[in-house]
Amino acid sequence: MTREAMHRIDDQVLGSLGRPSRGYLAVLAICAVLVVAGAVAFGIQYALGMGVTGLSIPVGWAVYITNYVWWIGVAMSGTFISAMLFLFKVNWRSNISRVAETMTIFAIASAGLFPLIHLGRVWVFYWILPYPNTAGLWPNFKSPLVWDVFAIVVYLVLSLLIFYLGLLPDLATARDRTQPSWRRTMYAYLALGWTGKYDQWRHWTRGYLLIAAMAMPLAMSVHSIVSWDFAMGLLPGWHETIFAPYFVAGAVLSGFALIILLLVPLRKALHLENIFTVYHFEQLAKLMILMALILGYCYGVMSFMSWYSGDRFSRQFEFHRDFHSRYSPLFWAMILANFLLPLTFFSKRLRTNLAYVYVIALVVEVGLWIERFVIIVPSLAYGFLPSSWGVYAPRLPEIALTGLSFGLFLGLFLVFVALFPSVAMYELKEQAIARTEGS
């Protein structure tokens, strides 16, 4: 019985690694077009300077930094979700952990582009790295921007390590079940000679546990540090002590939403309906309720503190941004998308309807992007002196480079699911054994 179940898992997951369909190739082609269009836009920006974008005084940070914060949020949540559910021994994690970890790696790749794109003089990006050089130039370690570099590099490395460790047993399964071909050779190299020997499992289990345990606080710190890029500034709307937990809550919410957005088409395309079941989406929807409530609380606290602090600039800024500025509709859209709509998941009928869950996840992702935009741009546009106020509207380079990040992320994800098991097979087998023992 258990053996049959284990056999089915291998067949189903490895069977999904076959020849790509036309639909798959069409989506991949769209991703390639987005990447090429973005690359052209970057080439123009590189040649002509930042003046080709909509950025100008007083708004020096806008869509690029919004994209950066949004992608970092997604990246932060993937490994965090996987590690958190692992440490709390949540059974249904096994089915979604691989997608969550993969999402993290490619989201960091997309996020990492934007500070470089935003730099202007991208050719000197390495000046922010700490390395001994003849000029005796060292970064300012008191700056949150430098902390950011450390946080992202460390998070990328740790995410890659936990992702690769988790993949090892499945690479061995793929190696042993694939006919001789370039794929098999690739699996054989990447599996590093994994045999499933007791000693290997013993060290592997400990290593995985330790890295997962480190991923939790690291993920928290990564998005907290990103929030300090703003909170350490003195602008109204940025200078908020609640920013770290507020950013983390938003990031985790965006992670849950993106997992749903990736899994719903994936289960259909790869015929994995019995692995990614309605039950998994229902659990993700429940967690989205929790994160939406935390986010709603943060929105409330920030507005309350602006009033309660007695700070005139803070009060006036909040009131103006939320009710009278050109960004007011965006503010209310974000409240609707990130706080009110996810609460409809309190209804079991709605949270078990996959089409509805998918639409809400999409709306939440858009809402969270708007949230980051609303955090960043209005504070710069409406400074202390009304005479220095300005407006910002994105131009073609910003739009094309945003498209590039989405094309890159989705394209890499599609390549991954075509080459590697998109589900942690060894964990599903453990579940099958546990079910047999329990019955």
Binding site: W147, F150, A151, L158, P169, T173, G196, R202, H203, G207
Partner: protein, 166 residues
């Protein structure tokens, strides 16, 4: 020495086989399986993992190195930025913290590779490809005169197949 490989279709039978071998006084055996075998440690020689120590040492080393880098490099300029003194240890906590996790995670990963001997493309001769799929296994190294006794033990514990390896 002679090597026997027993195949099991069930983890409970594998545990029974390991227990029987241990009870009979044999220790030269290894277990294989497609899922974590950590819960079989009562029947196995090796327990725990040195990966923990390596991770701990890596964490301390990372913390010290990255914190020291902040202090030492700040002493090059001795600049007061943001109203803070050149050596601002509160700010350096962040870099030290990231450095600790950076080195600790790499140490944990390398520890797994080194201690689990994961560094080859090919698998050893005693390995059976079924061990990564649905089956479990025991590979036992014995003296030729123990062959029949060991085969009996393995078969009694539920082995579905026993192969003699060179």
């Amino acid at each position: 020495m002679l090597t026997l490989r027993a195949i099991y279709d069930d983890m409970e039978k594998l545990a029974a086989g390991l227990k029987a071998l241990k009870d009979s006084g044999m220790w030269e055996y290894e277990a294989y399986g497609p899922t974590s075998l950590e819960n079989l440690q009562d029947f196995m020689k090796g327990k725990g993992s040195k990966v923990r120590i390596l991770t701990y040492v890596g964490g301390i080393a990372g913390l010290v190195f990255f914190w020291y880098m902040c202090i030492a490099s700040s002493l090059v300029f001795k600049l007061v930025t943001g109203g803070k003194p050149a050596i601002s240890n509160v700010s350096f906590i962040v870099v030290g913290y990231q450095g600790a996790i950076f080195v600790a995670s790499i140490a944990a990963f390398l520890g797994v590779l080194v201690f689990a001997r994961l560094r080859r493309k090919k698998t050893p001769a005693e390995y059976d490809s079924r061990f990564s799929g649905t089956d479990f296994g025991i590979v036992v190294h014995i003296r030729p005169e123990d062959r029949n006794r060991t085969t009996d033990i393995l078969r009694a514990s539920g082995a579905v197949e026993i192969n003699e390896l060179a």
